[in-house]
């Protein structure tokens, strides 16, 4: 073997081995500092400074910051974090870099508005974000819809929600259901029917799989809430009539003349507890249900997004 070949083999082996060794050591270092890659640090927090520093390539910077916001939210959401301190600043930087990045407003508001563990619990920041989005994209009716949704679902401010849906309905080419929902919101804001209309329109209008699934889960939860309300009322009526609680679901069904054992959207029969409470058999299958859950039950975090 020639001298040069020997050197080549040794150098090649050294290169591969040292690369493997350094990767291994780095992996060990990362294990020692598990939070290090996603520390709560925003070295540059001013959107104006970042826009200037991007030397005109602000579109690409916006995509980078949007990806960072998604990663930040996804990571903290996955570990059921209770604080999302960087989310609003990251979204502010993203939308100032590219005010036409509609996806950042749509998803950003649904990251910000819902209460933990579903979101950051910052509905005010979500409203600011959406108002900025509307200011820069006044012809996009979906932004009005999203803003109205935040008022409706998170703040229960039905008047503001109705106003926002009405504003959106005036936008050229706005979906006709905005007008309907604005009117419905003004008169029957807290009804199941209103919620049902909102979520079913969201389900019908979206192309995004995550949003569709989310709307579907909300519709299922609404059905559970409504069923539990009706059955709980039946239990109350039974108690008033007989002076005791029904001994079983079969007794309640017979006394109320129901067509059969009531079942949840998955086909599982509802439970009647000895204390007279109506509960679903698999609460984890209905993460957005607010009724029919065992006492102290904590819902599992699920992606929550109300966009159409």
């Amino acid at each position: 073997m020639k001298h040069r070949e020997k050197i080549s083999i040794i150098a090649g082996a050294c290169l591969v081995l040292s690369l493997a060794a350094s990767s291994f050591v780095l992996h060990r270092v990362d294990q020692l500092r598990p939070q290090a890659p996603l520390d709560e640090v925003l070295f540059l927090s001013s959107p104006k400074v970042i826009k200037r520093a991007s030397l005109g390539y602000d579109g690409l910077m916006a995509c980078i910051y949007w990806t960072r916001a998604v990663q930040y939210f996804g990571y903290r959401h996955h570990y059921e974090a209770s604080s999302y301190n960087l989310l609003a600043p990251l979204l502010e930087i993203t939308t100032h870099l590219d005010p036409h990045l509609v996806v950042a407003y749509e998803f950003g508001s649904s990251f910000l508005a819902p209460k933990p563990p579903f979101g950051a619990g910052q509905p005010k920041s979500a409203i600011d974000l959406m108002e900025y989005g509307i200011q820069n994209n006044p012809d996009n009716w979906r932004l009005y819809y999203d803003l109205g949704f935040v008022y409706y679902t998170e703040l229960k401010d039905y008047k503001k929600a109705a106003e926002t849906f009405a504003r959106g309905s005036l936008v050229p080419n706005a979906h006709p259901f905005l007008k309907v929902i604005a009117a419905q919101m003004a008169s029957h804001a807290g009804d199941y029917e209103t919620a049902w209309t909102l979520w079913s329109e969201t389900y019908k209008n979206t192309q995004d799989k995550l949003i569709k699934q989310n709307a579907f889960d909300h519709l299922r939860a609404l059905r559970v809430d409504q069923d539990v309300d009706h059955l709980q009322a039946a239990v109350t009526r039974f108690g008033e009539r007989t002076g005791r609680l029904p001994a079983s679901m079969a007794e309640l069904v017979a006394a109320e003349g129901l067509p059969g054992t009531p079942v949840d959207p998955d086909g599982h029969p509802y439970k009647l507890t000895p204390e007279g409470r109506i509960e679903v058999r698999e609460p984890k299958d209905f993460p957005f249900a607010t009724k029919g859950l065992p006492p102290g039950y904590k819902p599992l975090p699920t992606f929550d997004s109300p966009q159409p």
Binding site: R52, L55, G56, Y57, D58, G59, L60, A62, C63, W66, T67, V70, Q71, D98, H100, L101, V103, F107, D208
Partner: protein, 258 residues
């Protein structure tokens, strides 16, 4: 005259290819294909935006770096290698040498941009599985990027005609950065008074205004570009490049090469 300029230009192009300048296309291809595959997994609904933004930004930045680092050595390298004397001992005028070098470098960048544009459209097709009429707007952004290159090439040559490669690189890169802030400079000028105002306004018009050429973000959102802007930017780039080249020719004509 035309033959001599074309000859110098083709030699400059060949030299750039020999210097493996076009190898940057490999890095570009890897960057773009990596982004196209990865972004869909780590972000939400911005695959197409990223491909357009990243693709055009890379075309622009790679081109600027090539224009600066090749441009600054175009004259000084010839002097250092003493090949300039061989060229100028033939019936080639100094201005022809400068203009030929400019066209050679601009040609290299146009070829480079052409291949990168193919890459951008290929990545776009991979992401969307189809083209829409609005995708044609990318060609406008690419055209503006080429106009930007013409200005930078001429500036690099201007600095190369009287300064060392290192200083030329510093000057050219600084002007690129300042040119990106040209509109801010004009705003500052508007806020100043008296002599400072005149000075700042003069500086704002003297430095190249690169922000006018940057339509990447709006094109990514399928916003059309006004035909007037295309025309005015073309004229601006041509006039600015001719101005810088004339400066380079003037300096080089009187430079003592002994």
């Amino acid at each position: 005259m035309r033959t001599r300029i074309a000859y110098i230009a083709s030699n400059t192009f060949r030299e750039a290819v020999r210097d493996r300048v076009l190898y940057n296309l490999i890095a570009f291809a890897l960057l773009l294909s990596g982004a196209a595959i990865l972004v869909g997994q780590i972000s939400i609904e911005i695959e197409k935006l990223v491909v357009i933004n990243l693709g055009l930004t890379a075309v622009s930045l790679f081109g600027v770096v090539i224009a600066i680092f090749i441009g600054i050595g175009l004259v000084s390298k010839e002097i250092e290698k003493r090949t300039l004397y061989t060229v100028l001992s033939r019936p080639v005028r100094r201005w022809e040498f400068i203009v030929g070098k400019f066209f050679g470098l601009a040609g290299t960048l146009v070829v480079n941009t052409f291949f990168m544009a193919i890459g951008v459209f290929a990545a776009l097709f991979y992401i969307s599985h189809k083209f829409v009429p609005a995708d044609a707007l990318i060609l406008v952004a690419l055209y503006f990027i080429v106009l930007e290159f013409l200005i930078i090439c001429s500036l690099a040559l201007l600095f190369s005609s009287f300064s060392s490669p290192l200083l030329s690189a510093v000057f050219a890169f600084s002007l690129f950065v300042i040119g990106s802030f040209a509109e801010d400079l004009r705003n500052f000028a508007g806020m100043a008074h008296g002599f400072t105002r005149w000075l700042a306004t003069g500086a704002a018009y003297l430095v190249p205004n690169f922000s006018a050429f940057n339509v990447i973000s709006s094109i990514a959102h399928e916003q059309p570009v006004a035909a007037q802007l295309v025309l005015q930017n073309t004229l601006y780039a041509l006039f600015y490049a001719i101005m810088a080249l004339s400066g380079a020719v003037l300096i080089f004509e009187y430079r003592d090469l002994k």
